[in-house]
Symmetry: C2
Subunit: 385 residues, 2 copies
C-alpha cells in the first residue's frame, strides 16, 4: 500500500426531509446566495423546501449555472456576491452547480491577478467563502469532495481545480429530490460514478485488498441499482442506494493508498469541450478504448475486476480481459449510453483537433504510470472511432 | 436505507515515516502534552520519532495511561494540563491512550460540577482542547472517531462517551510502529476490529447493499490479513492492511443508514470491569452466545454473512447459521482468543453480579431492536459459560 493523506470534513445529511435541517448548518444572520441551474428545482419542489428552510435568512438567488459550468457565468455570480457581501453560498443542483459554486467561493476570495489562473495556471487557492450543497442529481461526487471542473466557452477549455478550502461544509442528499430526473440524466449518473471508481481501481496492484473490495462494493452496487434507477426512479431505496454509491465513488475513501489513472477523464473532457457531449457519454466512449490499449499494463486488475464484478472466470487471460471489457461496454449500452465516437457523429478531424490542442498545452505523462503520451492518446481515440 | 448524518473530520496521515509530518499539523508555539502508556514507545523508536518531530515545541509528558484507561489516572493529567496551560495534546499509543486523551481534552475544558458526569450522566461535551494521535496498535478505531471508553477503578465501572469535539485533529498510522507488538495484542486487535464490524452489520436488512458490501470488505480483509499479521508482524503490507481495516471498521463509514447492535460491547465491558479480561477476549466470549440467542432476529444477515465471508452456502437455514457461528468461533480461536467464560475462569457468580449491576443501573432495551432485557442478558451469558 502506498502512503496517503485522507481528509474529508464534509458533513452529510442523508435521507428524506433533510433539506429542512440546513438552517442548523448555516450561521445565523448570514446573507446566503443560492446558486442553481436551469430551474428544474422550481418544478420538483426542491426550491420551495430550500426557501422554507432559509426563511430566517436574507437570501439572494443566482440562477442559470449550465451543465459543464461556464467560467463566464460563474464570474457574474462572483461579481454580484462581492457587491452584495454574501456570507454563505448554497448550491442546489447536480455536479455542475456544485462545481460552479466551488469556483465561485474560491474566486470571491481570490486576491491575485486573474481568477482564471486558478484553473489555467493551477494557482493555489488559499481561502474560500463557506458553502453547502443540496444535491439533486447523483453522479459526479462533487457533493463530498473539494474538486471542480469549469469550462471557458470563449476558448473551449474544460479545466479542473481543487483545494482543501473548497469542501462543502455540508451536503444534503435526499433521494426524493431525484424522483423527477429524466432517464438520460440517471443513466449518465450511473456511468459517471462507475467510471470514477474504474479510474481509481483499474490500475496496477499495490497489495490493497480493502481498497479493492471497497471499490468493487461501489461497482457492484451501481451494477445492480443503476439499471433499476433508470427503470424506476421513484423507488426510494433504489435511488438512495444509487445516490450514496455515487458519493462514495469519489469522496476519497476508495482512493487512499492506491495509484489512480484519470487519463480517460482528461481525454474525455475534450469531447465535451469541443462538441458539448454529455460528460458521462464521453467517458463511456474513451474508457473501453483506453482499457483495450492499456490491457497489458492493467492486466491483474482487469482480471480481478472481471471476476469479482462481472463473474468472468473462464478462458485464457486475453479472453477474460476481452470479455470483461465487453461486459463493461454492454453495461453502459444497457443504460442507453453509447460507446463509440461515431454514435455522436464525431470523426477523425476531432481526434486531430484534440491532438493539436494537447500538443499546444504540452500534455504528457497521463495515467497511473505517467506513460501515456500524446501519440498514445491518438491511438486510444482511434480505437474509439 | 435509514436517514443518517455522517461527519468525520479526522485527517489521516498513513504510512512509513509519517510521524515526521505531525509538526505541520500542530499550531506553531503550542505547548504540547504527549500522553502515553507503559513505555513501550521508548523501546520501539516511536518516542524518539515523536520527540524529533516536536523539537520546535515545548513538550510535557504524561506517562502511565493503562489499558482500559483509568479515570483516576486521567484526572491527574487533567490537573497537570490545567496548571501548565497545555495548548495541544498528542496521544501516542493504542486505543486506550487515545480514548484516555479524549477524556482528558474534554475534562480540561469542562466547566460543570464533576467531570465524571461526562461518563456517568452522559453530560454533553460542549468544547474540548485540540489533540492528535500517533497510533501504535490497530484495534479500537479510536484514532478516527470521537468515542472513548473510560474505567473508574474505585467503582469498577467501564463507561463510554463521545462528542463532535473529541475527534482527533489528525492521526498518524505508520504500520512500522506495530512491528514490535506482542502476538497477543495483534490477535486481540483483529478480534476487536472484526467485532466492531459485526456490531454494525449483523442486525436486520434495511436495503443497504453498499454498506453491507463495505462491511464485508473489512471482514474479508481481517479474515485474510489478521492471521498473517499474527504470524508475521514485520511484514509491512500485512500490517498496513490490518491497520487500515481496523480504522475503517469504526470510523462511521460502514454504519451510515443501517441499524447497529452494540449489545455485545455493553455486556462484555462488564467482564473487563470486573475481571480485567482483555476487551477483545470479552467480545469473543459474548458475541457467539449473542448470535445464537438472537439467531432468529438476525437470520437474514447471518445467512448473508455466512455466505459472503465464510462461504457457507449449503444446508438448511438453521444449519448454515450454526456453521456460520462455528466459523466465527473457529476464526477467533485460530487467533488464540478463547470464546468461553470458563476459559477465563469466570463462572455463574459473575453472571449474577453483572445482572445485579444492570438492575441497579437500570439497563434495558439493548441491541438493534432495543429488545434485549436483563433476562436476555442472563441467557446470553449462560450460553457463554
Amino acid at each position: 500500500m502506498n502512503n496517503f493523506t485522507f481528509y474529508n470534513p464534509v458533513k452529510i445529511l442523508f435521507g428524506k426531509g433533510q433539506i429542512s435541517a440546513i438552517a442548523q448548518e448555516i450561521p445565523a444572520g448570514s446573507r446566503v446566495m443560492i446558486t442553481y441551474g436551469g430551474g428544474s428545482i422550481k418544478k420538483n419542489g426542491v426550491y420551495d423546501q430550500v426557501m422554507e428552510a432559509l426563511r430566517d435568512y436574507e437570501v439572494l438567488e443566482f440562477q442559470g449555472i449550465e451543465p459543464n459550468p461556464h467560467y463566464e457565468t460563474l464570474m457574474q455570480a462572483v461579481d454580484i456576491a462581492k457587491r452584495k457581501q454574501v456570507d454563505f453560498f448554497l448550491a442546489v443542483g447536480g455536479g455542475s452547480v456544485i462545481d460552479g459554486t466551488k469556483f465561485i467561493v474560491a474566486a470571491v476570495e481570490y486576491e491575485g491577478a486573474d481568477p482564471w489562473n486558478i484553473l489555467a495556471k493551477r494557482e493555489r487557492v488559499t481561502k474560500a467563502a463557506p458553502f453547502g450543497a443540496v444535491l439533486t442529481l447523483p453522479a459526479t461526487g462533487s457533493e463530498m469532495n473539494s474538486g471542480a471542473v469549469v469550462t471557458r466557452v470563449s476558448t473551449k477549455e474544460k479545466l479542473s481545480f481543487g483545494s482543501p478550502f473548497t469542501f462543502p461544509k455540508f451536503s444534503v442528499l435526499d433521494p426524493e429530490t431525484t424522483f423527477t430526473l429524466p432517464k438520460r440524466q440517471i443513466s449518465n449518473g450511473v456511468v459517471d460514478a462507475f467510471s470514477h471508481v474504474l479510474e481509481q481501481y483499474l490500475t496496477y496492484p499495490v497489495n490493497s485488498p480493502l481498497q479493492d473490495r471497497m471499490a468493487e462494493a461501489v461497482l457492484l452496487t451501481l451494477k445492480e441499482e443503476g439499471p433499476k434507477a433508470v427503470q424506476n426512479p421513484q423507488d426510494y431505496n433504489t435511488m438512495a442506494n444509487f445516490m450514496w454509491a455515487a458519493t462514495m465513488a469519489l469522496n476519497g475513501v476508495i482512493r487512499v493508498g492506491v495509484p489512480t489513472d484519470w487519463a480517460t477523464h482528461y481525454i474525455a473532457h475534450e469531447l465535451t469541450a469541443l462538441h458539448g457531449i454529455d460528460h458521462a457519454r464521453t467517458l463511456a466512449v474513451v474508457f473501453p478504448a483506453l482499457l483495450r490499449y492499456k490491457s497489458e499494463d492493467k492486466k491483474e486488475k482487469l482480471l480481478q475486476y472481471g471476476e469479482r464484478v462481472w463473474g468472468v472466470d473462464r478462458g485464457t487471460e486475453d479472453e477474460r480481459i476481452e470479455a470483461t471489457i465487453q461486459a463493461t461496454i454492454a453495461f453502459f449500452e444497457s443504460l442507453e449510453v453509447q460507446t463509440k465516437l461515431r454514435n455522436y457523429e464525431v470523426g477523425q478531424d476531432t481526434i486531430d483537433t484534440i491532438i493539436r490542442r494537447f500538443e499546444e498545452r504540452g500534455v504528457k505523462d497521463l495515467g497511473e504510470r505517467a506513460d501515456i503520451q500524446i501519440e498514445d492518446v491518438k491511438q486510444i481515440l482511434m480505437l474509439s472511432l
